[in-house]
């Protein structure tokens, strides 16, 4: 099978390329949005393409000759919708048989209501432009499927962790710096999925005939709390949670524009979900660039300890009391996460060591 991967240089896309290519499971055609994005993909001799995923004609050209396409590209709210509009006609024109699109569990909101028993649960009334865009993109693709012949499967992962996860790297950095924080005792549910388990789910979505026209929530097999998540990362970098601040979420009363600006400024924002707006990423990068600069102690006081930077979206995630169900993925796809949370975190820890994040200098 020849599989195109849109967003092949991103966190999920790159891992998918590694797995499928190195395991010899399929012929891979990575599709990136810019030449510079080929830097890590170029480790492999692959017939990569550079194409704008919002341009149906350009995308159709890049997809020619492929049996299936996995859509794992990032974008801002507008791009998420535009990419969804371009994807289906491009695949149809190129003669692709199946699309597997990565949506997000964020369509149910960051704090899903109890009663979100399956994928048919009504999508929450979203304040977030990003979450709304993800829901719209799903709808656009489903409507296109109703009129077209290209098969369609959509997956809704939530907190993806693993090698090259920016979220994991950020938390590791915060734990080492002493400014990590948890809402309360960290007992809220972290709907985690290891990137390798997600890759397995994507493979099943590509190869299971009955999956056409279906949407699936996917998670790791264990129920994991945020405290568990932080504890595992802390162990990877040789520390513990003794310096983690237990916080009560402040009352976020910003105006809509202030909220957007604050969201855009957070480095964590881009790491939280599988698909994060590029615009947010740009703002966040600017903020991150300034972040490591040491601050001078102000006059007539002693310098304080590390201060946690609290974000509304992370507070919402850490207030989640509902585990997304995966019964449908288990039944239709035969999805059974191969990697336990503990083993997945060991791999992530090895990656943290590999990158040097786990080594103090």
């Amino acid at each position: 099978m020849k599989i195109a991967i849109i967003g092949a240089s991103g966190f999920v896309g790159l891992r998918l390329v590694e797995r499928l290519h190195l395991e010899g499971k399929a012929e891979i055609v990575p599709i990136a949005h810019a030449y510079r994005s080929l830097a890590v993909l170029a480790r492999f001799s692959l017939p990569w393409k550079v194409a704008d995923a919002t341009d149906a004609d350009a995308l159709a050209e890049a997809l020619k000759g492929c049996d299936a396409v996995v859509h794992a590209a990032l974008g801002d709210a507008s791009q998420i919708v535009t990419m969804a509009k371009a994807l289906y006609p491009a695949a149809q024109k190129a003669g692709v048989k199946r699309i597997v699109a990565l949506s997000s569990a964020a369509v149910h909101s960051l704090t899903p209501l109890p009663g979100t028993h399956d994928e048919t649960a009504p999508l929450a009334n979203q304040k977030s432009e990003y979450n709304t865009a993800k829901a719209k993109a799903e709808l656009i693709l489903n409507n296109a499927r109703a009129q077209g012949t290209v098969e369609l499967v959509q997956l809704r992962p939530s907190i993806i962790h693993g090698p090259r996860s920016r979220l994991v790297a950020d938390i590791a950095g915060q734990l080492l710096a002493g400014n990590a924080w948890l809402v309360g005792d960290g007992s809220a549910i972290c709907n985690a999925i290891a990137v390798d388990n997600l890759v397995d789910a994507i493979w099943l979505a590509l190869t299971t005939p009955e999956a056409d026209r279906q949407t699936f929530l996917v998670n790791d097999r264990e129920v994991v709390s945020w405290r568990d998540f932080y504890t595992a990362i802390a162990a990877s970098v040789g520390t513990d949670l003794s310096r983690v601040h237990a916080i009560t979420p402040p009352d976020f009363k910003d105006s809509a524009s202030e909220k957007l600006a604050r969201l855009a400024a957070k480095e964590t924002a881009m790491a939280l979900m599988p698909l994060i707006p590029r615009r947010v990423k740009r703002f966040a990068k600017a903020a991150a660039a300034a972040w490591p600069e040491p601050t001078q102690p102000a006059g007539w006081c002693l310098p304080g300890g590390p201060t946690p930077k609290i974000s509304e979206e992370m507070c919402q995630l850490q207030s989640c009391r509902w585990r997304f169900p995966t019964a449908k993925a288990e039944k239709v796809l035969g999805f059974a996460p191969a990697l336990s949370f503990g083993d997945a975190m060991k791999r992530t820890g090895a990656w943290l060591e590999f990158t040097g994040i786990a080594r103090k200098q």
């Binding site: 190195l22 480790r43 492999f44 090895a350 200098q361």
Partner: protein, 363 residues
């Protein structure tokens, strides 16, 4: 203003390195009457026009061969590495001095031919390893030589980060066009400094993650008589961008890009001295008067002044061809002795596939 006419400069290649570095440095040197940009050469008209707008008096040429390559001219070779040898050799044969961007050439054989031509013609050939002009790297060189902090015990280097350079095509990432990945691109600077400070290693161990393509991560251990060190270079993930050298009586840390700053820790002290490096003759007055240490742009300017004065009056080059070639020689040796880099997040099937692909690419 100097009491001699400005040295004419021909720029071969108007891509990113010229746009972001050479144009600004040459622009300032023109205002000082030190150089005059005579010609800009690039087959891409739009790229060339961007630079030409800053030097309207210069010739704008599609072909380097049409440039006014006369004795007494400096040629800045800032084209893709595969063109360096032919353009440099032509310029030397016409009597020009050459400042050739790093990496010096696509292959060691090309670099050796360039150095041989410079020796044969007696014309100066400088290599753009401009970090050697940094006060910080010069201070480390002095510490290594003087052993002020005792002998070297070990060193660690981490350099690189996600690739941000605006590539205009994928040629930079194609193995059939570009001879190496991050070691060849970024590592040429890294290894040049280590070779300059410590000399050639007695043995080394090199591993990277290329599996049929160009490496994004390189891990190198360099062994010397009495000490060894590690080098990790990446275009995959943000590194700390730090060089740390541990001496018997202290350690020095240098952050890449901080041309005029060093951190110094002396054994027995529980504090670190974060210093700006100034000439001793200055006695700190520059800082007192609100002027900081020189930074990367000044190093770039010094590099151009060095080649211009070498062409004009024979001033010795700071980084002549026989110095510039050293890192290329080590890089080529690394590639010849490449071993698979363990990527500990791979499952057994992936590891096997990776080893097979890397081995297949080598044969």
């Amino acid at each position: 203003m100097p009491d001699h006419p400005p040295v004419p400069v021909v720029v071969a290649g108007c891509g990113a390195i010229t746009k972001f570095f050479y144009a600004s440095a040459l622009g300032w040197l023109e205002t000082q009457g030190i150089v005059r940009v005579a010609a800009l050469c690039d087959p891409n008209e739009a790229t060339r026009a961007t630079i030409h707008s800053r030097f309207p008096g210069a010739l704008s040429l599609a072909r380097f061969e049409d440039a006014p390559l006369a004795p007494g001219t400096v040629v800045v070779v800032a084209t893709p590495p595969k063109l360096h040898a032919a353009q440099t050799i032509l310029a030397l044969q016409r009597g020009c001095g050459v400042l050739c961007e790093k990496p010096m050439a696509a292959t060691l054989a090309d670099a050796e031919a360039m150095a041989a031509e410079a020796a044969r013609t007696g014309r100066p050939l400088a290599i753009g390893l401009y970090r050697r002009f940094f006060r910080a790297t010069q201070a480390i060189k002095n510490l290594c030589a003087s052993q002020t902090l005792g002998p070297i015990v070990s060193f660690e280097v981490e350099e690189g980060g996600p690739f941000r350079w605006e590539a205009a095509s994928d040629s930079f990432f194609r193995r059939e066009i570009t001879p190496g990945g991050v070691l060849y691109d970024t590592g040429v600077h890294t290894l040049d400094l280590l070779l300059w400070w410590f000399g050639e290693p007695t043995t080394f161990d090199y591993r990277d993650d290329a599996a049929g393509g160009l490496e994004a991560n390189s891990h190198l251990q360099l062994n010397y008589a009495g000490f060894s060190g590690t080098v990790r270079i990446s275009r995959d993930w943000a590194t700390k961008n730090i060089f740390r050298i541990n001496f018997a009586k202290g350690s020095v840390s240098w952050f890449v890009g901080k041309a005029g700053q060093l951190s110094l820790r002396v054994e027995g002290n529980d504090t670190i001295l974060n210093s700006e490096i100034l000439p001793a003759a200055d006695d700190g007055l520059a800082l007192h008067n609100g002027r900081g240490a020189e930074d990367s742009p000044q190093a770039f300017i010094h590099q151009l002044i060095n080649i211009a004065t070498a062409v004009r009056d024979g001033t010795p080059l700071h980084i002549p061809a026989n110095e510039g070639i050293r890192s290329l020689r080590l890089i080529e040796a690394c590639y010849k002795n490449r071993q698979p880099l363990e990527q500990p997040w791979f499952n057994p099937a992936e590891s096997a596939g990776f080893a097979r692909l890397q081995k297949g690419a080598a044969t």
